[in-house]
């Protein structure tokens, strides 16, 4: 319950923050993952750099066909943003599944992505949405695709001293159908599996399918085999079943007290089927 002693700073300016991070500071975003593990003494950063006062990291805006969300935008802000709900409903839906009211009030999209918990809700949608992350460090900025960003369990493309500053999300085709379906671990509320689906149809055929999966493997991933199987089909129940069955292809499933690897694999298929069915039915 009591963390180790640490130094604390709360810069209001991004540059200043990046400078402090460059000299070994640990970034604190919403703190929903970091603070609990600090309290259990599983983490003991010497210097915590609180990003919570950098106003310039908290925004949602639309620019030329993309939504831009500052890294410090909270799950609640995403969940309740009329802009996100209309222009990228999948992200709002995913945000509404995270944790609980209090966690959504504090937790941030940047913090969640940077933590790269293999069972977090956001990454499935971020994968399906093919977002990009703008990263910054004291030595400059760069943009990486979501696929390059999530590297492994709790491991991302972030270099020491580097943080996410922005998530860039393509505005959804208004005719697309989306859905995030999650099997909830009863104690923690984390996803046993979570599947985010985006479907675009044209002339009665699925022209584009995007499927992001969390909870199943060491990191969130795109189920490309499933996507391929669905694209070009009419999206019938049989088509969906076939695609859903392929959702776990090439992934070594996680196992824990709440779900064995085999069960998780099967549930990924079931929830992929559900997410795809809803998404297909919502696509116009």
């Amino acid at each position: 319950m009591i963390a180790h002693i640490f130094e604390y700073s709360a810069p209001t300016d991004l540059k200043e923050a990046l400078g402090q991070l460059a000299s070994g500071g640990k970034p604190l975003a919403g703190g929903m993952s970091l603070i609990p593990i600090m309290k259990l003494r599983l983490a003991a950063p010497e210097h915590v750099v609180d990003l919570g006062r950098i106003v310039a990291l908290n925004y949602i805006r639309e620019e030329a066909g993309t939504l831009h969300a500052g890294a410090m935008t909270t799950h609640y802000q995403i969940e309740s943003s009329p802009l996100v709900r209309s222009r990228c409903p999948l992200l709002a839906e995913a945000a509404s599944h995270i944790g609980d009211v209090q966690v959504r009030n504090m937790g941030t999209i940047g913090g969640s992505a940077a933590h790269a918990d293999p069972a977090a809700d956001y990454p499935a949608s971020l994968m399906a949405l093919e977002v990009q992350f703008r990263l910054a460090s004291s030595s400059g900025e760069r943009t990486v695709s979501v696929e390059d960003f999530f590297v492994d369990t709790f491991a991302t493309a972030l270099q020491p001293g580097e943080i996410i500053t922005e998530v860039i999300i393509p505005v959804e085709d208004p005719s697309a159908g989306v859905s995030y379906q999650k099997m909830v671990q009863p104690a923690s509320g984390y996803a046993i599996v979570g599947v985010a689906a985006r479907i675009t149809k044209s002339g009665g055929k699925v022209t584009k399918a995007r499927v992001g999966v969390t909870g199943l493997g060491p990191k969130a991933f795109r189920a490309k085999a499933a996507e391929k199987l669905l694209e070009g089909t009419e999206g019938t129940a049989a088509d969906i079943a076939k695609a859903a069955a392929a959702v776990s292809e090439g992934v070594e499933s996680n196992t824990d007290l709440h779900a064995s690897a085999n069960y998780r694999t099967q549930m990924a298929r079931v929830y992929a089927g559900r997410a795809l069915s809803v998404a297909v039915s919502r696509a116009t």
């Binding site: 180790h4 009863p186 079931v270």
Partner: protein, 778 residues
């Protein structure tokens, strides 16, 4: 003296009255142990073993002692003279390991206390813990009771290599004859998994030593302040009358605080050593690791019956996971299961064998229901298994075997005498509530459509109002003192120690009715051994049934005294006491209770053979337990794809005798059902093979949440208990006991198309999914 016409006011007993405890609780002004601040208070933090079994080679404390702010570090070597942690149970041949308050040469479970740091600040105390070095030599451990009694298992206590703490045998009737006459015998292994009580407030102790007065005050989050005083005084070898135990607001107990733990004596020891007040608040992790767990049964049942469904006899081999030590009642809990074995049925013949087994785990002890949920789960499952075997309706087989209303008091083969009942009534009411024939038709349709719909019934009984003193190690009576102050205000001091059950309200209702005073003029005090006469405490659904009865009798004594003073003041022998006034039937003149009380304290004149003052105390010994009963019906639907269980309806009909406050009773039923449902569906304390508790936090131990609870349709039948003057039976544990078999029966019923006969709790989605997808092969 006023002359008044008396109109009878409506009684408060039986009314939905909002609780008088609540204003402080909803405004954040209640005082729990952690809220206590005493000038100069120090803080303790305990270092605990990460190993389930290990030898302690050495402990190095100096670096911790050197830390600024640390005032002391104590280890087992410093506390050898304190203790042991008491076991109140005595059974023939019981092996009782010496339970030191801090480990000395060896640790026996993960979480075993090894050292304690005392510092000026809780942050410093926590930091200093990391500076203590313990050199452990890990030893093989065993965490599963069946593995522990298998040959070659590592001994938990080297002095008892078979890991058996006791065996216990009980028989009633002629079990061999019953089985010989049976047409059918069904057998099943049924487990009742280890559970973690998880009161939202963890345990905590504040100890304060006043050297001048040579007195120690312990503020502890407990259900049993007086028993704690007696036992801790013994542990610390101090005179009992110089130890004061105060129970401030207690944030839930569910049995886990019906105990005396090492930390209570340890904090007392520290306060006496350092001459400063000291506070210890258990962390949630410690709560999971070191506060008692519940259940932990492996039961082998055999039920013998006639082909027409008449049940003849029941055999049980019960393996109880005790953990590494006996806490206060650890070995007794499974014996309650044996007492409860026959359930509501006319079994003439039973046989039970308990093996109490040591494991390298935290001790099990009383958790909501304490032995009765395990027994009820077993018998109610066995009845369903028999019904399936005989292709009988589960309701019909129950009706056929119930003890009948004209058979009370009913002597059971386990030696109990059931007080009163109409066991068919709640089941009939529950069946009507769900429209059983219609429900069965609906189920048939659902099955045709390939849906897995289940209907589950449990007809449970329980042993409450614990209990007559001969049945309890430390007495089963309860006490009450009622004082009418000179101004007419009424103060009740009860020996029970409620912590959420609402007796500050229900007792005030009883007193207000009996004395005819305004409920706001009644104050209920509990939980301070210096203020309140000795009492036993709150557990076993006894608060109102035993404590309330003591109160009732004290009130009768006072009423008699009031009438004596009234007669004197009104100068008449023809006196009526009603609505808080003594009235002369002849003249119509009256005196109020305040006037009577005032006169009794001024004592200008006293009635013959009457002492001044208006105080009555009763220590009431119940002649018997009470036996509440009821029927719960649960409708479920199982998702074939995921194994998820949806509870479509939850109907609870409970007969808890007379009801004092229906609002509070509803709350008790709901909360009880939630804990039963928790066991049925989600909760399990899981130790790995090495004795590590891997459900060591709320991240993995799944408590029921708001979104997962069904709506509970609660109603009652009322069969008063003849055992006590209030006619109450007790409600605290009913929901829990009735719930789990109804849920499991429902899910097993849903999976009947797959030939499923039994599923052990918790019914996790994965477990169900596997059964469905393996076509019933577990």
């Amino acid at each position: 003296m006023a002359t008044t016409t008396i109109t009878r006011t409506e009684p408060l007993v039986g009314k939905r009255i909002r609780r008088r405890e609540d204003p402080r609780l909803i405004t954040g002004t209640a005082t729990y142990v952690e809220d206590i601040q005493i000038p100069g208070m120090h803080h303790a933090c305990i270092l605990r073993s990460p190993h389930a079994a290990a030898r302690i080679r050495s402990i190095t404390t100096q670096p911790a002692l050197d830390m600024p702010g640390v005032v002391a570090v104590f280890t087992g070597a410093d506390t050898q003279g304190i203790g042991p942690v008491p076991c109140g149970a005595s059974l023939p041949g019981l092996r009782v390991p010496y339970h030191r308050i801090l480990a000395t040469d060896r640790v026996y479970f993960v979480g075993h206390a090894v050292a304690v740091v005392v510092a000026t600040d809780k942050y410093i105390a926590r930091d200093a813990i990391d500076l203590i070095e313990v050199d452990y030599e890990p030893l093989p451990a065993v965490a599963d009771p069946e593995k522990a009694i298998a040959p070659g298992a590592p001994p938990v206590h080297p002095e008892w290599p078979d890991n058996v703490a006791f065996t216990f045998h009980q028989e009633g009737g002629d079990i061999d004859k019953a089985f010989a006459e049976a047409d059918v015998v069904v057998k099943q292994r049924i487990t009742s998994q280890r559970l973690i009580p998880t009161a939202m407030e963890t345990r905590g102790v504040v100890a304060e030593w006043r050297p001048g007065e040579k007195s120690l005050t312990l503020r502890s989050s407990t259900q049993i302040p007086h028993l704690m005083r007696t036992l801790v005084a013994q542990m610390l070898s101090i005179p009992e009358n110089r130890l004061r135990v105060i129970t401030p607001e207690v944030g839930g107990g569910f049995g886990s605080k019906f105990n005396v733990y090492a930390e209570e004596a340890l904090m007392g020891f520290i306060a006496m050593k350092i001459h400063k007040p000291v506070k210890w608040i258990e962390s949630r992790r410690e709560n999971f690791l070191c506060t008692i767990h519940g259940r932990g049964h492996v039961d082998y049942f055999e039920l013998a019956a006639k082909r027409d469904g008449t049940m003849l006899g029941l055999k049980l081999k019960l393996i109880q996971d005790l953990g590494a030590y006996h806490q206060l009642l650890t070995p007794l809990i499974p014996t309650f299961s044996v007492l409860m074995m026959p359930g509501l049925y006319k079994f003439a013949n039973i046989q039970a064998d308990i093996t109490g087994v040591f494991t390298n785990c935290v001790p099990t002890d009383a958790y909501r229901g304490a032995g009765r949920p395990e027994a009820t789960h077993g018998i109610e499952r066995m009845v369903d298994i028999l019904a399936a075997e005989l292709k009988m309706d589960p309701a019909e087989i129950r009706f056929k075997n119930f003890v009948q209303p004209d058979e009370f008091p009913y002597a059971t083969p386990t030696g109990l005498s059931y007080d009163s009942g109409n066991y068919a009534a709640p089941l009939e009411k529950a069946l009507a509530a769900v429209d059983y024939p219609h429900l069965l038709a609906e189920q048939a349709k659902a099955r045709e459509a390939g849906k897995l719909m289940g209907i589950g019934i449990s007809s449970y009984g329980e042993i409450c109002a614990v209990g007559p003193s001969p049945a309890m190690p430390a007495g089963g009576w309860e006490s009450a003192t009622v004082k009418i102050e000179p101004t007419g205000k009424v103060t009740i001091m009860t020996g029970i120690s409620p912590h959420g059950q609402g007796e500050e309200t229900t007792f005030a209702q009883i007193a207000a009715d009996e004395l005819g005073v305004d409920i706001d003029d009644v104050l209920v005090i509990h939980g301070d051994t210096t203020v309140v006469q000795y009492g036993i405490g709150t557990f076993g659904s006894r608060g109102t049934a035993v404590g309330g009865s003591a109160l009732y009798f004290a009130l009768q004594d006072l009423k008699a005294k009031i009438k004596k003073f009234g007669a004197m003041l009104l100068d008449s022998d023809d006196i009526l006491f009603a609505n808080g006034q003594c009235i002369c039937n002849k003249t119509g003149k009256s005196v109020t209770i305040a006037e009577v009380a005032g006169a009794s304290y001024r004592a200008m004149k006293l009635p013959p053979d009457t002492e001044p003052g208006m105080v009555a105390t009763r220590f009431w010994e119940p002649p018997n337990f009470t036996f509440p009963f009821g029927a719960h019906i649960v409708v479920t639907e199982v998702d074939k794809d995921t194994g998820d269980i949806a509870i479509k309806r939850y109907v609870a009909v409970d007969d808890i005798g007379k009801i004092i406050n229906p609002l509070i009773v509803d709350g008790q039923i709901h909360g009880g059902v939630a804990q039963g449902l928790g066991q049925a569906l989600w909760e399990q304390a899981v130790y790995d093979d090495n004795g590590q508790l891997i459900t060591g936090e709320l991240m993995d131990y799944a408590l029921p949440r708001a979104s997962r609870m069904p709506w509970i349709e609660s109603s009652h039948t009322v069969t008063p208990s003849p055992v006590n003057p209030l006619g109450v039976k007790g409600v605290g544990e009913a929901g829990t006991i009735g719930c789990s078999p109804a849920v499991v029966n429902s899910v097993v019923n849903a999976l009947q198309p797959f030939g499923i006969r039994h599923i052990d709790m918790p019914l996790t989605s994965e477990k169900i999914w596997k059964l469905v997808n393996a076509g019933g092969q577990a």
